[in-house]
Symmetry: none
Subunit: 205 residues, 4 copies
């Protein structure tokens, strides 16, 4: 039981390397198992299939991140809007939670973000953007209701979610150092918090 977990781990480690080098589609299970000193059959003992192997690398880090994000969105939706804008502290706190969770498994997340084409995870970022979209739609609608002559600009709302999520994607993708990442992200968040409502509302004709 010791040994099998070792082998499972070996497979995961070699899979990481192979997926990173070639991307999901072109990665070879034969090579992964050979690198681990095992055979392809071993992969199918531990994992359901190629996607399952990829998932074994990526699921946990992804879930951790998702949980932090979802918790944040839930919290925000229960706030007053007035609070949203002013409490930049909240957003800093969010970043301080999220960034470490992301950098703890940076390699897995990198795989997910850049090397998952062809896998069942290839749309992960899009899905998160959509989630974000929905979360902020609530907030925006509430606010729009309080602004006579204004309504939510659906496109802008979506674009904003896009920018926001991609700020984090860009961060983990381009900045290897966690400390620096935190330094970078704060002004970006401030900037987005400050501007988003203005961009998201349009004249209601």
């Amino acid at each position: 039981m010791n040994e099998n977990l070792e082998n499972r781990q070996k497979l995961i480690d070699c899979a990481k390397k192979e997926f990173m080098e070639k991307g999901f589609s072109k990665a070879s299970l034969r090579k992964i198992s050979a690198d681990a000193g095992l055979t392809t059959g071993a992969i199918y003992f531990f994992f359901k299939d190629k996607n399952g192997l990829f998932g074994a690398i990526v699921d946990e880090p992804l879930n951790k991140v998702m949980q932090i994000v979802m918790t944040h969105y839930s919290a925000e939706q229960q706030e007053d809007f007035s609070v949203y804008e002013q409490s930049s502290g909240d957003h800093d706190e969010f970043a301080e939670q999220l960034i470490p969770a992301m950098y703890e498994n940076r390699d897995a997340l990198l795989l997910l973000l850049e090397k998952s084409a062809g896998s069942r995870y290839e749309d992960t970022v899009d899905k998160i953007i959509n989630l974000t979209d929905q979360a902020y739609a609530e907030l925006a609608k509430k606010y729009a209701a309080s602004c006579p002559g204004k309504k939510v600009d659906e496109y802008m709302l979506h674009w904003f979610s896009h920018v926001q999520i991609n700020a984090f994607v860009h961060l983990i993708t381009h900045e290897p150092d966690e400390k620096k990442a935190l330094k970078h992200i704060k002004p970006i968040i401030d900037y987005m918090v400050k501007e988003w409502i203005e961009l998201t509302l349009e004249d209601d004709v």
Copy 2:
């Protein structure tokens, strides 16, 4: 001579469909040629290889877009910086050139942006971002030199290029209607022009 061009076109059309459905890597040349009522050999008469076929769809639209973009960057680098900020008209004009060029071959560009993984074009967006980076680095440095105690924040500069390019990517990807696209992009450009210098400079310690 009528028939040959027809067949070439048939191949391109069927390739478009197949690439769009399955992405470059999983697309099958057999299926493409069969759909066109031809054999795989025919593909290799008209095109060098799979990448060549993809290129036949994508090269021209890409080049048109690149030319407009590069021309714009060149023009900007010869301007005074003071001009840059105020002349929102220039940027509107840029958008008014670029958007039609993009929508003229929206399907090809969509292929390039979303379905090119595994092809020789898979890094196209990254390359454009890097070009943008370099173009704006010049501008930012000039400006920083005129602001005592300030210097360029490399990360922010790159992130900004990223946001900017992805604004257009998001646009063509999510907004099928050209007119609406133009409406959307203008406030986004204004917003970016207004804020970018502030975000791009940091205190020089």
Copy 3:
């Protein structure tokens, strides 16, 4: 009519290059015709097929050589055997005819000898050896008849033909300079003439 011969020649020249580089089997007709600024169809106008193209390069030089060789064999068969051994002058004369004929089209012969695998010419050397075999069988039998208790050793006879022909093959293959070739071949011929009858006869039990 001027032009077509030019094109025919262009094809032959490019074919020479391609066959030399890749050998008959792996040579590509498409590449040959493209190098000549023509299309594959052109090849089929001038030549029957791939073998025909190869033949257009190789046939004439081969025939010239064969004619000299065959003439020599015929002459020898009409000689007395006693003459054979003594008249080293005859063999020198033979070499002095053959070597120039071979070096006149050394490139074509090289093709034939080293790059014809897969073509209808791949057994050319073997065939020549067999011819040689037959020619000398006559001579050897006559001589054996005059030596009581001796008979022709078939294997040695064949081996000798082999060595003899390959002396020329080796020459043209390894010695680019015609003058030197002639210098090399003479002692080899002498040596073979001197020894062959001894080796070719065995005791008749």
Copy 4:
């Protein structure tokens, strides 16, 4: 475990037949695997690729032969030259070792010698000739040093290596019977030993 080795062997047997009939280049892996009642994939389980399959037939016999040859050359280089000429016993012994090793796997060697064009083994005979060349160059130089006014004729040296190696090639190629082969080769060896030094030296001008 019985069955697997059987299938591997079946593949090798069918490959032998196919390579023998068509030569390496034109041999079809599909046909080989079909003849063996398997699929092409099976070949790639047991062997790296087409060359690997050919090697599986040919490597061991070739190595055995090479070992005997190399051992012989090493021994010769440590002898006095005077010994070389006189000790025809040594060369007989050599032949008595080499011939059986060659005939033990005559079919594999035939493949190597006559059907390997296009494979990674196509230059095997040339390489052996070069080895021979180098081995005898030593010997010839030593001897030439002891003959005032003589030097080694490089061309003749190479030609002699050529003749020598091809004597064995011719043997295995043309004489199916091992006993007879041994009978044939001995006078040939004697003949070559006797003459080679004379042919290999030339006047030093």
